[in-house]
């Protein structure tokens, strides 16, 4: 998993916050719920220009 998170860290689309949440959700002792992952990949909208 360390290699996975390291690779994600180098990707422009994956934010540090996403990685932090993924690390918590994918921890070996955690029960896996796909909805938790869906939530990670639904970031809140941010302000932008037209």
């Amino acid at each position: 998993m360390a290699e996975f998170f390291a690779a994600l860290g180098e990707n422009e689309y994956v934010t540090p916050k996403m990685i932090e949440q993924l690390q918590m959700i994918l921890a070996p002792e955690q029960k896996l719920d796909p909805d938790d992952l869906v939530a990670i990949f639904s970031p809140p909208p941010e302000e932008e220009l037209v």
Partner: protein, 816 residues
Amino acid sequence: MIKIESITMKEVRGLRDLTLHFGGESFVVSGPNGSGKSGVVDAIEFCLTGAISRLSGQGTAGITLQKHGPHVDRRDDPAAAEVTIELMLPSLDRTATITRNMKTPKVLKIVPDEPDIRAAIEEATSHPEVVLSRREIIKYVLAEAGTRSKEVQALLRLDRISQVRSALGTARNRAKTAVDRATQDTTNARDALKRHLEVEAASPENVLSSVNERRLVLNVPILEALTEHAQLDDGVTNAANASSFNKVSALRDIDAVKDWLRDEGTGERIEVLRLQEDIQAIEDDPGLLQLVRQGSFVEKGLEYVDSQFCPLCDTEWASVEALREHLEEKVKLTASAGEQRDRMKQDAVSLASSAGTVKSLLTPVISLARSESLKDAEGRLSSWSDSLSTLATELSSVESVLDQKVRLTQGWTGAYATVLEDLDALRGTVDSKPDQSATVNAQTFLTRAQDRFTEYRKARQVLGAARLGESASRVAYETYNEIAERSLTEMYESVEADFSAFYREINIDDETGFKAKLEQGSGKLDLSVDFYGLGMFPPGAYHSEGHQDGMGVCLYLALMKRLFGDSFSFAVLDDVVMSIDSGHRKQFCRLLTEQFPGTQFIITTHDRIWARQMRSEGLIGPKASVEFQGWSVQSGPIVEEVAEVWDRISEDLAKNDVPAAAARLRQHLEYVMRELADITAAPIPYRGDAGYDLGQLFSAVVSRQSSLLKKAAASANSWNLDSSMDDVKEMTEARNAALEKYGGEQWVVNKAVHYNEWATLSKSDFEPVVEAVKVLLAEFSCPNAACGSWLYPVPKSDPSVLRCDCGETNMNLRKK
């Protein structure tokens, strides 16, 4: 991991009350079929895991742990069945005792119950695979590729990989759906903004041009740029409190719906015509309908696969990959209807998009009807809007499109007959309002523009976030897959290399070129093996059963090595090499000794020769074994413990239990004489049923030893070796004295040992017998207590030496 010092089993399976002392070393439990060996294996497994695999799985319907785990006499009293293991934790250099009771199999009592000890024990007890029976070998070697994949993945704790992969896949799919939805919402919001601003495109220039035209009317500063925080109605008097009603814009909103109805709502849409034709064609051909329905159904199921349980029928599959592969195959089977289904899907998506557009056009119009108190019209328009939402949902799958035939025929928009009248009435109401002054018009225009601009901006922000989420989820899914695939490949290559090396070691005589290939596919793990350089084949294709047994054990050991590494300290091998011949077993002993020197193996076998072979090859120590002579319901296994028989007899006599002591002595003598007859090649008439009585065995062994000592004396004499002659003489004299003593007690021996007539014996009658037998047997073994092995000729036939395991006794038998 752990090592077992001792185990005490009470009322478990076929065992009544039995303690075995393993001493943390490898140990052999031997005995004929039905003598209770498997009870020991079950007890170990039960104490470690709280379950007995023999009582679960295929063919065990109606069998439960609590009912059938206890001894049959205690089947209604599971609390009586209990196993206690004294164990060592090498990683902590600590010892502990664990106890599990059949009444509460999930409760593991640990003494001392300290956090680090509990953690180490729980880690060890979470590995039921440390107990391997022959039938379980099959799942590693002869199983179908899908089953093997499942078993190996479970063994190596890889099922988490499938779960993570599946969860990431689900997240990616939902993120894609979110992007589609946000894209549609953005398009609708942009169209609403464009309509209000009367511009062709929502570019910053167009927006500023339209807005500034009204701002000039109000004499407020024009906006120079459409910045992040731009307010289109900035500076407008009472803008915050102003009504957003803008007559011109409201009329345009109503007209937009009317225009849409005229241009697209009533016209013949090609998508609708095609869908009608396709639905008709499907209805005319039940086979096609079946294929389309099935394909659509299975496709839907495929979307929801996130575990090895089928979302369509709840059937459990070997793995999530196997399930996916199965469903994908099913979808392919419907390929003949594929083109039609794809076209229908495309048309349905196009119509659903249009439905969304109309709905977004209706939203401001419904608000207008509400604000103008046209309740009936508002109700009808709202119902229409709801029906468009329903239609959009129904058009999301080909199967549900089939149910929309009537709607498509009668008018896909679902617009009610008087919709134009309602719109005209609403338009009339709005139009009848006095024209807004240029100032009010500009004010409300800008307020309305700001509302729609805000909605559009929000929609874009949601879309941007959805796209980011989709990109991130795709990257996470693809990256995880790539790394998982690479790691699995490396891992299987490592297992493959160990497996091949182990197997070559066992079959060093004839398969030195052996190699194996483990190839993972989607939910499968194919195993092919070399067959004498003639090609790679499935293990069951050409190799013998014995070779397959060997492969099973080797693959298991390779997997355990991979799983535990240096901490692989304990395993139970339950009759796993029964089909392997003597020569290969010898190599098997070497494999275990050399490759796994730190591992404690508890091995059961029905083969006494194999049990001895493990001792002579050094896999187990001279006293690390127990032989079950037989079994009865009342007493459980009849046990021959090499190490402790004399202590046990002393304990019996201390309790004045002569019958028990006599029975134990008889069993021991029978065991020893069989053993000695075998290793010394004592001449005894062959019996097909191997039912030799103690008298026959005893005479043959004594006679053979006498003959060997005579040979040794003759040899020493021929070589003129005084020291050797003295040794032989000393041994012969001691042996004769022991025999004489034994013969002197023969009357008791015959009664108590040979014929079980112990009822009349007293403790004082029997104690000399025990001593006589003990002294006599000592003459058949190495005088070095640390060695303790029997003396045996090598080779058995026409021997050249009489020796023991340690070499302290080594008498030449060949004359000069």
